[in-house]
């Protein structure tokens, strides 16, 4: 029987790893994702998994070993954060292009400098365009569930693309909350066995991974990745529905909270959406027709779903937990593009919040909604909770 435990986002992710029982985990510790790896090391030490656990000497080597292990046909998982993720940057597009499935627990933390251990999304956003699927989770339950679903998505023959399962550092990773765990057998049945294609260890059909491809071929190879991302968008919901059938929990690409009849909507990702949803409930009681749209899948970006969810709204605020210094923050750029390219000229406030773990209070969400309601719209960035 499924059972509930009070646990953290990190431990919930580690529990999913135990149940998935990957062939190879290559990892290097970094705050705040370290607990995932330490908990998993306990599982290894106590014989709870069959995994070949490779305790590499850097994040760069961690992701390299994950890529080559996956190319060799193994089911592979790892975890990291912040500067560790940045150190892996060179290898991420290689993983994407090799079409090597990997499920990666990315515990979001701000990128130094200044060095800071707390949450924002600058680490994962720095890896935005490298050929990985990005899924952002609101809480520990979702991090656990998404890890399991991500195996199926990543290893799907038409997708074969590595997946980041993002959760907010400390807020989700170290906060304790009830999480319902599936039975080991249910997880095992859901993820099945990996059936690799083009395995490096298939001696009868030797393959070369990582060839030198110049201008005659490079573009066509990238085109194949474009198609894989389209397939991920197409196939995701089927996997989410299958997961619902065994767990009772359904996670669409976008989480529409009271948006259907809303006039004003806040668009946000990950844990801060919890506070926004509470504010939505409170403001609804006062007669304001507001809603919250949480983006779960950031890559591939569900353009159509977002456009349909926001079509006809009077005003929207998009909250980014990272910057694009000298440019437009990543989430608002996507939302504007999804709407404006289709002629949906809805006024949008771009709000930056929570950098370096700066708290996001419900009052902020209310203030942002009141700006939308009162027509205080402006094209420049708004900085939420900034002291100046």
């Amino acid at each position: 029987m499924p059972h509930k435990e009070i646990t953290s986002g990190n431990w919930a992710f580690a529990e999913a790893m135990r149940q998935i029982n990957p062939d190879v985990v290559a990892a290097y510790p970094i705050t705040p994702s370290t607990d995932i790896i330490m908990k998993f090391a306990e599982f290894v030490a106590n014989g709870k998994v069959d995994t070949n656990f490779v305790t590499v000497e850097s994040e760069h080597s961690a992701i390299t070993a994950c890529v080559t292990a996956s190319a060799s046909g193994a089911r592979v998982m790892t975890a990291s954060s912040a500067n560790g993720v940045a150190l892996m940057h060179e290898i991420f597009p290689i993983a994407g292009c090799f079409r090597t499935p990997i499920v990666f627990g990315l515990v979001n933390r701000s990128i130094g400098a200044p060095i800071n251990i707390h949450c924002d999304h600058s680490d994962s956003m720095g890896q935005r365009d490298l050929g990985w699927i990005h899924l952002y989770c609101e809480d520990a339950q979702e991090a656990y569930d998404t890890a399991i679903m991500a195996i199926r998505l990543s290893e799907n023959d038409d997708v074969l693309t590595p997946v980041f399962v993002c959760q907010d550092g400390f807020i989700t990773s170290h906060g304790f909350e009830p999480v319902e765990y599936m039975d080991d057998d249910a997880v095992k049945d859901f993820v099945g066995e990996r059936e690799p294609v083009n395995s490096l260890l298939d001696l009868d059909n030797p393959v070369s991974y990582g060839s030198f491809a110049m201008s005659e071929y490079y573009f066509e190879i990238k085109r194949q990745q474009i198609e894989a991302h389209k397939k991920a968008l197409e196939l995701y919901d089927g996997i989410a529905r299958e997961f619902e059938a065994v767990s009772g929990r359904y996670y669409p690409m976008i989480d529409c909270y009271r948006t259907e009849d809303a006039d004003q909507v806040i668009v946000i990702m990950s844990s801060a959406s919890g506070a926004v949803k509470d504010v939505v409930d409170e403001m609804r009681e006062k007669g304001h027709k507001v809603g919250c749209l949480r983006i779960r899948m950031f890559r591939p970006f569900p353009v159509e779903a977002v456009r349909n969810a926001l079509k006809g709204k009077k005003a929207v605020a998009v909250l980014d937990r990272s910057l694009s210094l000298g440019g437009t923050a990543p989430l608002v750029a996507e939302v504007r593009s999804a709407l404006y390219a289709a002629g949906e000229m809805i006024p949008i406030n771009s709000c930056i919040y929570g950098l370096g773990g700066r708290d996001f209070f419900p009052q902020y969400a209310e203030d942002i909604f009141m700006d939308l309601i009162n027509g205080r719209m402006s094209p420049e960035e708004h900085y939420i909770g900034l002291l100046e």
């Binding site: 190879v24 069959d50 080597s61 070993a65 080559t68 292990a69 996956s70 090799f98 490096l200 030797p206």
Partner: protein, 316 residues
């Protein structure tokens, strides 16, 4: 364990002809000679470099065994991942064959940018062999200096100028660094004797656990060497004791080749354009003496480690 030439002469090399390495390049020779005595199925892991670029120009591949390249600085980690996957899948019964894993990197990918990754893989004890094809510079990008470049050599980031006579620093002793990991097998050789290369690499591959082989190979383009002199220059590297030939088996240092005569370093330097400045100008004598002194220091270090003495037949 020793290899017989008649047994290997008809064997198919894991790397075919038709690759795009330069005529006279030592890297493919190291691959062919090194792997010619190996009977086990192989999977190759390649660091970025000449060997990688020139053997896999898409859609072609010169490799008729499985081959993987990810990046420059991570062949050690790449091999770790492949070997880890192999062990995991073998334990589950998904693979039944015994496969051996060989990583190739140039001195750039091994001595410098890839040293951390190599050290990690050696320390963790993965069952693989790392072969450094060492041509003493970043030749793929146009002959920049590396930490394997010898003192006095002309390289494009340590050019011989009117004030500075080429690279000023002594090369890193990577073979000793590998040996300091106390792994089961470490060796250093060059293309002076194909059976020595074949035997050392075969021993490395058949030894359980990590092994490291450092093979000095000429880059004819940037050593500015007549391509016909590939074997000859390697013989001179061994005979002048510029490149001592030895192995370290379970911590025991063993000299493989003791030249009978004392051959002056000039014989190794003279055929190479990268050293032409050492033979000109007023500093010539001092620079050549420095080169000889570096050899004596390096040789004595190896003799001491191996517990050997050296008494050449005829003195200089």
């Amino acid at each position: 364990m020793s290899i017989k030439m008649k047994d290997v002469i008809q064997k198919k090399s894991p790397m075919t002809q038709g690759h795009r390495m330069c005529p006279g390049c030592g890297a493919p020779t190291a691959v062919h000679q090194g792997l010619m005595g190996v009977d086990s199925p192989l999977v190759i892991i390649n660091a970025t470099g000449c060997l990688e670029v020139s053997t896999t120009v898409y859609p072609f591949s010169a490799w008729n065994v499985p081959w993987i390249h990810t990046a420059f600085e991570n062949a050690g980690a790449g091999a770790s991942g492949v070997e880890a996957a192999y062990k995991a899948l073998k334990k589950k019964g998904k693979i039944d064959k015994d496969i051996k894993f060989v990583a190739f990197g140039g001195d750039g990918g091994t001595y410098d940018i890839g040293l951390q990754s190599l050290s990690g893989a050696l320390e963790r004890g993965h069952d693989f062999t790392y072969i450094c094809y060492n041509n003493q510079g970043y030749m793929n990008t146009g002959a920049q200096r590396s930490s394997a470049t010898p003192r006095g050599a002309n390289a494009t980031t340590s050019p011989a100028g009117s004030v500075i006579p080429g690279k000023l620093q002594k090369p890193k002793d990577l073979t000793s660094i590998a040996a300091a990991h106390h792994i089961p097998y470490v060796a250093q050789t060059t293309l002076y004797n194909h059976m020595d290369v074949a035997n050392k690499v075969k021993t490395a591959i058949e030894t359980p656990g990590p092994a490291f082989v450092n093979i000095l190979v000429p880059c004819v383009l940037f050593w500015r060497l007549d391509p016909a002199l590939q074997g000859d220059i390697c013989k001179k590297a061994a005979d002048t004791r510029f490149w001592p030939i030895y192995e370290v088996i379970d911590g025991e240092w063993k000299l493989s080749y003791k030249p009978k005569k004392r051959v002056p370093v000039e014989e190794f330097l003279k055929p190479q354009g990268r050293y032409s400045h050492l033979f000109k100008g007023e500093n010539s004598k001092a620079l050549l003496e420095q080169a000889q002194a570096d050899i004596e220091t390096g040789w004595q270090y190896i003799l001491d480690r191996c517990g050997e003495t050296w008494e050449p037949q005829d003195q200089l």
